[in-house]
């Protein structure tokens, strides 16, 4: 009966001959802010960009290792110079030439525009860009040997755009981009109905690292309500549903024989921030006492049962996170697992009691715990209700749990209004450093008044350590130090979950540590 609502057979009868390479229907609840890389810095926009733009470096499906995409080669030629050689003979889908000028233009433009919605903040390390010839680009960096730079070249700040189409100092609207056919990627956009339906067509002249797509094209359908997306993937109206289904939905879909649930590593992180000034016994409280404050943090770390939250609230779609760097990243360890609780991941009431008693804290400590209900998915309420329960059950804490709407939350949290509060993080690029520098260097963006010179030195060191093994070691050291201080208490690490029809192939290979969903790997 609902045949007419099924995944389009490729837009009417016109594609009957392409039955071998069919069109994939993808669904998501994310949203596109802008197709212009300078005007957006979010998952929804980046997902589309990944299909239609190329990068100097990109990762192959299955991993997060930056490998040449538009580049032929890319490396540090001097400590502050990163030189990229472009492949020859590159053309945009509209026929314009793609050369080093486009590359320089793309990065200069990001910085120039610095749009509030844009990712220009990722490019602070670039001092200047030179283009000695049509296929050579030289990035001069402020900080030498920046080990994250190749990763930055794969990040939302780095899609290369057509300098003959995009203006240098302002954003280009989506429709004009589509009209100008200014694409160079596995796909070009065939029709663009923003945040409703986008139809992509494989671009035969693509020569980047991702190779030829496994399908003839794809449609991206945008949902406002995850339940609808769930029902449609269940009913086969879409082939793949990616971000974001609720834990209950995923749990339900796991039991459904018509669909497959795919789980891949995730870089998303949920954690609790302690404001060192205003938390119980914090520096600016009347009863300031760093020892007692530390004891409070440690006791909390002892008491939290991450597994229980993961199981009950998230049904395994988020996993326990045992360190500031999520597992799966080079250098990640499980410093919190060893240091707190029973040492194997279970909470330990005795240890918490002992810590508190040792610090001379008697009677329950009142914690004002703040969370945000609307920005980190709608399970935050349940998550924090559980945390409150876990902390209070011990008798060591009384928890005053409150929630605040996102914009206010953000401003207030940075103005020391919340002693203990929830935050989340989604990486800009796939490197452990993205979980360290923004947080713990120069006060960090959280403004929680934590600073540890040793941590900052080590972070600075790992950033420029070219030797992989040594770098990982340094990163581990940082994590151990952080676990001791507990500036933030990592809780959960998100997994990438996609649901597809049973006849759909190739979903797993794109659920990798690059966190880029590539439609090109999927076929049916």
């Amino acid at each position: 009966l609902t045949a007419c609502t099924g995944p389009s057979g490729g837009g009417g009868g016109s594609t009957a001959s392409e039955n071998a390479n069919s069109v994939i229907a993808y669904g998501t609840t994310d949203k596109v802010t802008a197709l212009d890389p300078a005007g957006s810095y979010d998952n929804g926009s980046f997902m589309v960009m990944n299909q239609i733009y190329s990068f100097l470096l990109n990762s192959k499906p299955g991993g997060a290792e930056p490998t040449p995409d538009l580049a032929e080669s890319a490396s540090f030629t001097t400590p502050t110079e990163f030189t990229v050689k472009l492949k020859g003979d590159l053309k945009w889908a509209n026929g314009h030439v793609l050369d080093s000028k486009d590359v320089k233009f793309s990065f200069d433009r990001q910085v120039k525009i610095s749009d509030p919605n844009g990712p220009a903040s990722l490019l602070t390390n670039i001092e200047s860009i030179a283009t000695p010839d049509a296929t050579t680009v030289v990035f001069t960096l402020e900080k030498a040997n920046d080990q994250t730079f190749p990763q930055i070249l794969t990040s939302p700040a780095a899609p290369i755009v057509d300098d003959e189409v995009f203006p240098a100092d302002k954003l280009l609207s989506d429709d004009e981009i589509v009209k100008a056919n200014a694409f160079h990627g596995q796909y070009v956009i065939d029709s663009f109905n923003k945040n409703t339906l986008v139809s992509l067509k494989a671009w035969p002249d693509y020569k980047g690292v991702l190779g030829k797509p496994a399908n003839a094209g794809a449609t991206i359908k945008y949902y406002t309500d995850q339940t609808n997306m769930k029902l449609e993937v269940k009913g086969g109206q879409i082939d793949v549903a990616n971000r974001s289904l609720s834990a209950t939905d995923i749990d339900d879909l796991k039991k459904d024989s018509n669909v497959k649930v795919h789980v891949g590593p995730g870089g998303e992180m949920r954690y609790i921030v302690f404001n060192f000034d205003t938390m119980p016994f914090g520096a600016k409280t009347p009863e300031a006492d760093p020892k007692k404050a530390l004891a409070v943090r440690q006791a909390a770390a002892d008491l939290i049962d991450r597994q229980a939250i993961s199981d009950q609230v998230y049904k395994g779609t988020y996993l326990p996170m045992w360190s500031n760097v999520p597992s799966g990243f080079a250098g990640a360890n499980e410093s919190f697992k060893e240091a707190y609780g029973d040492g194997s991941g279970k909470p330990s009431l005795d240890k918490a009691k002992k810590v508190m008693a040792d610090a001379g804290i008697t009677g329950p400590v009142n914690i004002k715990l703040q969370y945000n209900p609307d920005h980190y998915g709608n399970s935050s309420g349940d998550e924090y209700a559980m945390i409150k329960d876990q902390l209070e059950k011990s008798g060591l804490f009384t928890v005053d749990l409150q929630s605040t709407e996102w914009v206010t939350y953000n401003t207030a949290s940075k103005k020391d209004s919340y002693p203990v509060f929830q935050l989340g993080w989604f990486p800009d690029f796939s490197d452990a450093d993205n979980y360290l520098t923004p947080f713990f260097v120069g006060g960090g963006f959280m403004n929680n008044h934590y600073s540890n010179a040793e941590v900052e030195t080590l972070i600075a060191k790992q950033l420029i350590t070219a030797d992989k093994a040594e770098r990982e070691k340094t990163i581990q050291e940082v994590q151990n130090l952080l676990a001791k201080d507990i500036s933030t208490l990592p809780l959960l690490q998100g997994a990438q979950v996609a649901v597809s029809g049973t006849n759909v192939k190739g979903v797993d290979s794109t659920l990798d540590a690059s966190f880029k969903f590539r439609l090109g790997t999927i076929s049916k």
């Binding site: 949203k31 029902l231 009913g235 920005h375 996102w406 914009v407 960090g444 403004n447």
Partner: protein, 360 residues
């Protein structure tokens, strides 16, 4: 949500007034001019309300950037300037027809309004059609059978329609008719194929069924109607309940009038008394209240649009509010104000036209 009580008496010159000397033309003119202060007040209210609620930059980048960087961006965007200056600037922009681009997704406001406005308009038309088709005949029937079992049944039905939150009703409808019975699609305005076909049309109205009819694409039309049923029913029933009661009360009211008695005394049948003699005079207050219901409909549309993936103004407004996209919100509010004011204007005029006393 407009109440179920009878029509609030018109606050502006009552069309019924015999003494409306200047005639219909003047009445229409004055009624029309009153649209503007309404819009102005709403826009002003929204402007200042939105500014106290925070800025779009914190909404978008708050969890990622340090406060200094955010402050710098806010300054760069000019949101930290004196509010009054911003307000005057905004009014100036509106006056020159410059509505700007949305902050959170960079669309030209006018284009955004046209696109989502058309979707909401389509939903509203469908819903009003359902509400009228259900509410008016049933209301007349209930009035005819007043205080009998069918009346009690219909009133209960009307109250249930009104009492069920539209998202709950939507969920139940979806689970029953889409998931359970498979009769209707779960959500959306059209299937992918149709949606793409609609995207290829030149100069579309944005109202899908109209576009489909104009382009002569009957299968697309069928598909669109197929998709429109559940949302229209969910939103329409909400209003149908109000209409039913409204029609019932007013028809009963006019049934007690002398002229109905006079008709009865001449042997006119009860059926005809209800459907002709009582109904048409009852229509004047009914139409007035129905105009007010448009506001309710747009409010209900927020929830219906969310539940049924109907990408329209209501849903979009909620999104833009979350993103503190004041440019977009102001634009939408302005459009809504225009729609409501114009609807009320049209309704007043229609009521005036139905009432022959004003016509001369």
């Amino acid at each position: 949500m407009a109440t179920l009580i009878d029509a609030p008496p018109p606050t502006v010159a009552a069309p019924k007034s015999k003494a409306a000397g200047g005639g219909l033309g003047r009445y229409i003119l004055i009624r029309f001019l009153l649209i503007f202060p309404t819009i102005f007040i709403l826009v002003t209210l929204v402007f200042f309300l939105m500014r106290i609620t925070g800025d779009p930059i914190t909404a978008a980048q708050g969890g990622r950037l340090p406060q200094e960087q955010i402050d710098a961006l806010v300054h760069q965007a000019g949101y930290d300037r004196n509010l009054l200056i911003q307000y005057i600037e905004y009014l100036g922009n509106i006056a020159t027809g410059n509505f700007g681009r949305t902050i959170s997704d960079g669309r030209p406001v006018v284009e955004m309004l046209a696109k989502f406005g058309a979707a909401t308009l389509e939903l509203s038309i469908n819903a009003v059609a359902v509400a009228l088709l259900v509410g008016i005949p049933l209301g007349m029937f209930a009035a005819h059978k007043r205080d009998k079992v069918p009346d009690a049944f219909l009133r209960t039905f009307a109250i249930l329609c009104y009492a069920t939150p539209v998202f709950f009703a939507g969920l139940l409808l979806k689970l029953t008719f889409s998931v359970g019975l498979g009769w209707f699609p779960v959500a959306g305005r059209a299937s992918t194929t149709t949606e793409l076909a609609m995207g290829r049309l030149v100069a579309p109205t944005g109202i899908y069924w109209l576009d489909a009819l104009r382009s002569g694409d009957l299968s697309a039309f069928g598909d669109i109607v197929h998709h429109a049923v559940l949302p229209a029913v969910a939103l329409g029933l909400l209003t149908a309940g109000v209409f039913l009661r409204l029609v019932r009360t007013n028809v009963i009211g006019t049934l007690g009038k002398d002229y109905v008695e006079a008709g009865r005394s001449r042997g006119v049948s009860e059926y005809r008394l209800v459907t002709k003699h009582a109904y048409k005079p009852a229509l004047i207050p009914i139409i007035t209240v129905m105009g007010l219901q448009i506001a309710l409909l747009l409010g209900g549309a927020v929830l219906t649009e969310t539940t049924f993936e109907w990408k329209g103004l209501g849903y979009q407004l909620a999104q833009y509010l979350t993103a503190r996209d004041f440019v977009a919100v102001q634009g939408i509010v302005m459009l809504l104000a225009v729609i409501v004011a114009v609807t009320n204007f049209v309704v007043d005029i229609a009521a005036a036209l139905i009432d022959p006393r004003v016509r001369y």
